[in-house]
Amino acid sequence: MAYETLPEALDGPGAIRARNLRRIGLALFAVPVIASAVGTFGPREATIGASGGGYALSVEYPRATRSSIVAPFAFSVSKTGGFGEDPVVVRVDRAFMDRLDFQNWYPVPAAEHNDGDQIVYEFDPPDGEVLRVSLDARTGPNQGYSSHDYEVGVLDGETDAAVATFHTVFWP
């Protein structure tokens, strides 16, 4: 039996069909490129504020981030007249912290503990009226896509004094 080595050639309509399929494929590739150009995949950050109970809270958070890149996260808590001898107690959603791969807090919390879905940090009171805290963090590797609201709150005793809600999109 003889085997023909010549391939089956595309005719005109077949070639156009193949070209159109290639164009669809290219358009699909264009989607992530354009999305990246407009900053959809981050890193994008934003700031949100909240106040209550004599406290003012300002949170700088990642609006969009992706696996392994820097995730800016910092907050400042201010209280007119200063904090006195009381520690500054801040809670952060555990679901948010679980998605970060972090080195350290600046300043380092004096204490921390889990409280269900929250992680509660206690910071030594600053000399002035403002405590500024930043986290040296990256988005953890092996992330799936998620788009959720998270909360940071300043506690006054057992209750929330000021709560800031922010939205972060994590890209794989």
Partner: protein, 164 residues
């Protein structure tokens, strides 16, 4: 945006490497050239993605490299002058059975390379070759004296047919 800029810069640098590396670098790779290409691949990945291991960044880089490559081929197709600049030009290495040593030196093609390419094309001797061209993609094109004679014969028959 940083990722896009890095990809464009690295792509341009790679194109430049291939252009200044010469045709030999493209297709006539020896073992060391192969190692160079592998090392280059690793360095390029680091340059583009740096510490970014995300899936979306890899997709963006792959997509962008594809578009840049298509863009270069479109430019090359639209303008002959740009095509020469982007892809390079073929080089005649042998004419009428005589190797052009100046061209071979310029393309870093040794007599051993030429003889090897001739063997791959089924030639026992360079005397059988009428013309050898090193194409911009690094491939050798061989025109044998037999084919030149046949071509001449066909031309002569065409002339005779036209005369009739």
């Amino acid at each position: 945006m940083q990722l896009i800029l890095r990809t464009v810069v690295i792509f341009t640098a790679l194109w430049l490497v291939l252009r200044v590396g010469g045709k030999r670098q493209v297709a006539q790779m020896d073992a060391f050239d192969l190692v160079t290409v592998i090392v280059l691949g690793g360095v390029v990945t680091q340059g583009i993605l740096q510490e970014d291991y995300s899936l979306v960044s890899a997709l963006v880089a792959v997509g962008l490299v594809t578009f840049l490559a298509i863009g270069l081929s479109l430019l090359s197709w639209r303008s002959e002058r740009l095509g020469r600049l982007i892809d390079g030009q073929p080089t005649i290495l042998l004419r009428y059975g005589q190797p052009d040593e100046v061209a071979m030196r310029a393309e870093r093609i040794s007599m051993g390379n030429l003889l090897g390419a001739a063997r791959e094309h089924g030639l026992r001797s360079l005397d059988e070759a009428d013309l050898v061209v090193l194409e911009p993609d690094g491939a050798f094109s061989f025109f044998t004296k037999d084919s030149a004679d046949e071509s001449d014969g066909e031309d002569a028959e065409d002339h005779r047919a036209k005369a009739v």
